[in-house]
Every structure is written in structure tokens, then in C-alpha cells.
């Protein structure tokens, strides 16, 4: 397998209430180009921190050790063809305070650019969309910024993306504002914006957790299709091991900032090696699970 990125000994520490909390501890793993890779864990496992670290979106106040090495064979240059070294250095910016997200200081090779090489879909689409900007513009902006298209080209691209994410009426949606859409429709728009620049890597961080089961299944099917059509690598971050197993080829299980177990989906599900992975699988309440009601002896 060809690695898209190699993470070695990655440690991320946040300052909280004056003390340092390690959100990730000495994590090493490779993500292969073109694979669907799931990161699962409960709250505090470090799964979102890992996703943010890969995307270069860690808060400026975090301390990072280790490396993320990118192996992008044909990492596209920005449309202006400026070498990366003259990209604006934002690390010295002070406005916004310590919590402002900026490209982190992780040692990386051929640092990819968020939005262009990496698309990111968050849990809450309302928080990632601008509430007072028409949806068409929000998607077109990504295409214009990263692909060097004109506004009219970008707008046409936005419309075709809305068709690809199967929004019911793409023409009307272009002019709509986020509050006019349902949660599932907003997440489709957020996905359209995330893939607008044709990223190599799509990161979905709990992207379906706020949606009901039926919409969740539709969004997962959409992500699966888009990733296959565009040859993207998928990083699927979730608390739901059953959902991850339906989508991913490999699963990495995290707990308390540590990588507990990593393997092919079938192996993780059918023969987990780590007790914690087994506990997670046992805690899953499937439709065919033994009812707790009956276990409690409270049958009626």
C-alpha cells in the first residue's frame, strides 16, 4: 500500500486550567492513499485532535511533538504557482487570541493546504456554514480560491457540486441560506464545499452524529460514493464502531489519547485483540442484541 501520510510519535498537549493535558500520546500510523480509514473512540479519546492535527487545524495554544509526513506524489501547487515558502506566514498573528486556529507547527513535508488538499466536514453543519451568505457563494468561494476559476466558473462548479450531493433543487439551493435547509441538507452543502477544490483527503469528523438514523445512512452512502468517484482518501472519525465498520476498510481504535488497536475492519470486528475494542463492540446495542429488559428479568 502506498501511504498518503505517515504519522510518527505524534503527541498533542493542550493547556487547560493551568495544567497540561495530553490529548494524543505517541501515536504512529500510516494512512494509505485511496483507503477508507476510520478513527473511533469515546469522548476524550483524542480522535478529533488527530483529525485536526492532520488537517493542520489545531489551536495555536496546543503543543505538538512528532511528525506527520505527507507523501503526495503530485501535490498541486497553488493556482498562482507561488512556491509554498512565500505563502503568508500566519503563525505570528495575534488577533483572535490563543484559541485561533492556524497552521500548526508540526514537522511536515510538503505541507498540504486545508480546503484544497484536505476537505473537512464537521459534526455541526450550522457552525461550518456562514449563516448570512448564500449557499452557492460559500461553495463557489472554495472553488475560486483554490482552483483559480472566475466567479461565473466557480458558480457553475457550485451548482454541479450541489447536484452531486443530491440536493433536491440545486438552482434554488444556490440562492438559499443555511437556515432554510434541514440538518441533512446542510450537511450535504458542507460536503459539497469540502470537496469543491478536489481534495486528496476528505476528513469527516462525527459528520453524521447529529443526524437521525435515516439521514445518517444517506450521508454515509453519499460520502462512500463521492470518495469512490473522486479517488479520495477518507478519514472517518466516529464514536460509533458499527457505523465505522459499515464504511471503512481499516479501523483505528483510540482511548485516552492512545492508539489501542489498528487493523482491517473484519479483523477488528470479528477478532479484536484488545479488551477495550471488545468492550466497545459489546456495548453496541444492535437490533438483534439481547434485550437488557430480559436480562433484568423484567419481561412482561
Amino acid at each position: 500500500m502506498t501511504a498518503l501520510l505517515s504519522i510518527r510519535d505524534l503527541t498533542v498537549t493542550y493547556r487547560r486550567d493551568g495544567s497540561e493535558v495530553a490529548a494524543l500520546k505517541h501515536v504512529s500510523l500510516d494512512v494509505a492513499a485511496g483507503e477508507r480509514f476510520a478513527i473511533i473512540g469515546e469522548s476524550g479519546s483524542g480522535k478529533s485532535t488527530l483529525a485536526l492535527a492532520i488537517a493542520g487545524l489545531l489551536p495555536g495554544s496546543s503543543k505538538v511533538g512528532g511528525s506527520i509526513e505527507w507523501k503526495l506524489p503530485n501535490l498541486r501547487l497553488p493556482h498562482s504557482f507561488a512556491p509554498p515558502s512565500v505563502l503568508p506566514d500566519m503563525s505570528g498573528r495575534t488577533e483572535g487570541g490563543a484559541t485561533e486556529r492556524r497552521p500548526s507547527a508540526i514537522a511536515t513535508s510538503h505541507m498540504p493546504l486545508g480546503g484544497r488538499d484536505i476537505g473537512f466536514v464537521f459534526q455541526d453543519p450550522s457552525a461550518s456554514l456562514d449563516p448570512v451568505m448564500a449557499i452557492g457563494e460559500q461553495i463557489a468561494e472554495v472553488a475560486r480560491t483554490h482552483l483559480g476559476l472566475t466567479w461565473s466558473q466557480s458558480y457553475a462548479k457550485a451548482k454541479s457540486l450541489l447536484e452531486r450531493v443530491r440536493l433536491p433543487d440545486p438552482d434554488a439551493a444556490l440562492r438559499a441560506y443555511p437556515h432554510q435547509l434541514s440538518g441533512g441538507q446542510k450537511q450535504r452543502v458542507a460536503i459539497a464545499a469540502a470537496i469543491a477544490a478536489g481534495p486528496k483527503l476528505l476528513i469527516a469528523d462525527e459528520a453524521t452524529s447529529a443526524l437521525d438514523t435515516i439521514v445518517q445512512a444517506e450521508i454515509v452512502a453519499l460520502i462512500r460514493q463521492l470518495v469512490a468517484e473522486d479517488g479520495m482518501t477518507l478519514l472517518f472519525v466516529s464514536h460509533d464502531i458499527a457505523l465505522a465498520a459499515e464504511l471503512a476498510e481499516r479501523i483505528a481504535v483510540f482511548r485516552h489519547g492512545e492508539l489501542v488497536e489498528l487493523g482491517a475492519t473484519a479483523q477488528i470486528i470479528a477478532s479484536p485483540r484488545h479488551a477495550y475494542t471488545r468492550a466497545l463492540l459489546d456495548a453496541h446495542l444492535g437490533l438483534d442484541a439481547e434485550p437488557l429488559l430480559r436480562q433484568a428479568g423484567a419481561t412482561r
Binding site: S182, E218, A248, A266, L281, H284, L285, L287, G297, A298
Partner: protein, 266 residues
Amino acid sequence: MSSPLLAVSGLTKRYRRGGKTIAAVDDISFHIEPGETLALAGPSGSGKSTIARLVLRLIEPDAGHIEFEGGDFLSLNGAALRARRARLQMVFQDPLAAFNPRAMVARVLDDPLRTHGVASRPERTRRIAALLERVGLSADLAARAIHEVSGGQRQRIAIARAIATKPSLIVLDEAVSALDVSVRRQILQLLLDLQRQERIAYLFISHDLGVISAIAHRVVILDAGRVAESGNARAVIGAPQSAIGKALVAAAPKLNRTSQGAADRQ
């Protein structure tokens, strides 16, 4: 069984939206027996949470009747309503939103005791410690602030508050949806233990059929404000008859722990 604990009939709630009138809850009827768990399932917008709010009388219906503990619940007001509300409690999805985050745990549990007439302060302090132990928490937690405790502990505190007034029915609206799976199982177990010991009935609202089939006796599946189907939870989820029931079952993530290559089926 004699008369049901809660009997809802013809319940209807309409909203105006963009000049049109939409029935969020449209002629819904169901009943709950003492000590029984009835689940309401359905996609977003099916009316689950509106029913919860109607039953709790946080909003008033446009039509229909609610009978609770043998009396007309909708006609109650003032002191009579307050007194009856002690028997009908609620737990929501996000306890952090339900509580003042800066409040002490003791204060959160003291409120219902005081409101519903447990008079003396020493007696209330004793009851608070007992409530915390009842839900599997240390009595020491009483001195902590709500925002300082974990999500699972917070939901236990929400349950402790709900049982403080010795209710016969608790409405749980997505009460375990935001919890980690390992914590979720413990909370479900706690709910079952309380039900068995105190004979509390639950109106359990969830979009998760796995959770429902684990703890509910019966289920009502809702679609666009109407009842799509209802019956024994295991039977309905095992062989749904309605289109929405089938869609919900099909969409539930399934963990096949024996087969190979679950991810390879495209």
C-alpha cells in the same frame, strides 16, 4: 391491568410556517401502563419531541385529551397542576443545557425537593445524599458544580432530580443519545433498575432502534406527526410493517461480528 397511567387520545398540535399550517402532531393516541416503557421512534420532524412537550404541558395542544393517573391532566392549573407535576418528570438529551452549569449539584437536587414540599433543610440534605447514592454516585458529588462533572455523571444527576419527587412517569427525550456507548449502557441499566424497584413508567423518545429494542416494552413509530405503526418493541423492530419502520430498521448501523469484509459490500 386496570386503567392506564397515561392515556393520550386525539392529540394534535399545529404550527404556522410561511403562511401554511403544519400538523407537527396529528391525531395521536397511545397509552402507558404503570411500570411500562413506551418508546416513541421516528425520523427528525416526526413529532417525537413535540409529543414529549405536550405530555409535560410545556406547550398546549390544539386538540386531544391527556389523562394522567386517572384525571384530566389538561384541565389542571395552578397548585393542582404543580402537585400533579411531581408525579411526571423529565430527562433531556443534554443535561448541561437543562441545568445552570455554575449551580452546585446539591442545589440542582434541592430545587425539586423544596418546590414539592420536603420541608426541613436537614431532611433535604439527607435526601440529596440518598438520591445521589440511588443513581450510583458518591454523596461527595453534592458539593461540586454541574460543569465540573462528566457527561455520564450529569445524566445520572438529571435522573436523580427526576426521581426526587417520586414520579410515576418520566419522559426521557433522547436521554442517552449524547453519551459514550459504555456510559450509555450503564445509564440504561440504571433506568431499568429504577423501573423494577419503583415501578416507574417511561415515555422513552429515541431515534435509535437498538436502544429501544433493548429497553422498551412497546414502541410507537411516528412519521410526519402520525402513528405509522405500534406494538411490542421486539416484534415491530424485528418485522416492521410500515414504510418508515422498514426505513428506520434498514438505516440502523449493524455490526456483523462473524462475517468477513463488512466494508467490502458496496
